[in-house]
Subunit: 176 residues, 2 copies
DNA sequence: GTTTCTAGTTGCAACTCGAAACCTATTTAA
DNA sequence: TTAAATAGGTTTCGAGTTGCAACTAGAAAC
């Protein structure tokens, strides 16, 4: 019994290029509203009605997105102790770890879309000085552009360890 | 003559929170396929049929996305001189400047989604050593987390110049 | 016990996506 | 010099997704 059609519309991006993690990341965070909900979470919002009012999103879509973000481990649900009608949505470590990505996107928007640096400004709490622009750094701290980058096979990676004798049998990557 | 309904479904994210550049950035890059097309561009693809084969996207959607990316200044069109049927899509400076964001998202995916570092690895061409993880840096290079950050009014920014006189005007608006 | 509040679900209309077919302007082949 | 192939679209249509409003279940307040 062969099915006439598998009927698999909207193929997951992850299957497009299995070698790269970017499609996988986009599978959860690429959805409309996902980043906006994340941003609201970082800004201290925790409850359904708070997201609803802040974002102006439809109830069913918010419900759907929160469920998906919880399923993918970016947010976690917890019932409130003082009011058991309420549910708290909080960022997990996986969710918190999206902050650099979010700030990078925000800085890009500041530079190219709005034109002006937004107010208020994001600063290091300790000295109240503005954070650096998010950038790509070499192991020694040099800022790299796309001209300086290339892909190499993981085996041919230079780890900095002394391995002059054999080139290309390194198994572990240091950065990630 | 008043229209019966403005019929403005799908309100632009940019209007949701005008104070922040992130929604504006998401307006163009938040669309499905936008980041995948960007990634393909960085990987040296320039033509319609190349994107089509590489991404497995539908023709009409690809056409639509390329038009939007050109309209928002991330890609630029140029007719080929040697074959006037062909059109070249190339990254503008605005597009190239999305590389840190893209790598940040990729690294997040590597860490939390796929688990394993992908192969091939992105390295500094000069010494063939892996790039650093994208992170948030203070002006002196310390790596910051969300605990270390706060928002302040742009007027109260510490620029590094000596200004001990006024302190405590920190408007702690958000916790991001 | 009724009302209110929180977090949903359901139904329906409008919109977007994906696959295939079609279209137009250029090469290339016969 | 026609005929076929190629590049980059647009059109059509069914299916999936989004947005809005109305409704619902459970907990709290009155």
């Amino acid at each position: 019994m062969t099915q006439p059609t598998p009927a698999k519309l909207r193929e997951p991006l992850a299957e497009i290029a299995a070698c790269c993690s970017l499609p996988q990341a986009l599978e959860t965070m690429g959805e409309r509203w996902s980043f906006m909900i994340l941003r609201a979470s970082f800004n201290g919002l925790h409850h359904f009605e708070e997201f609803l009012e802040e974002l102006g999103i439809a109830r069913n879509i918010l419900s759907n997105r929160l469920t998906r973000l919880v399923e993918s481990g970016i947010l976690k649900r917890a019932p409130c102790v003082d009011d058991r009608r309420k549910i708290e949505y909080r960022l997990t470590d996986k969710g918190l770890d999206l902050l650099p990505t979010m700030i990078a996107l925000r800085q890009w928007g500041e530079k190219w879309e709005s034109g002006v640096p937004s107010n208020p400004v994001l600063v290091d709490e300790r000295d109240r000085r503005a954070i650096q622009p998010i950038s790509i750094l070499a192991h020694d701290g040099r800022v790299l552009t796309h001209h300086d980058l290339c892909w190499i096979d993981i085996g041919d990676l230079n780890t900095g360890a002394v391995d002059d004798d054999h080139e290309g049998v390194v198994k572990r990557i240091a950065t990630i």
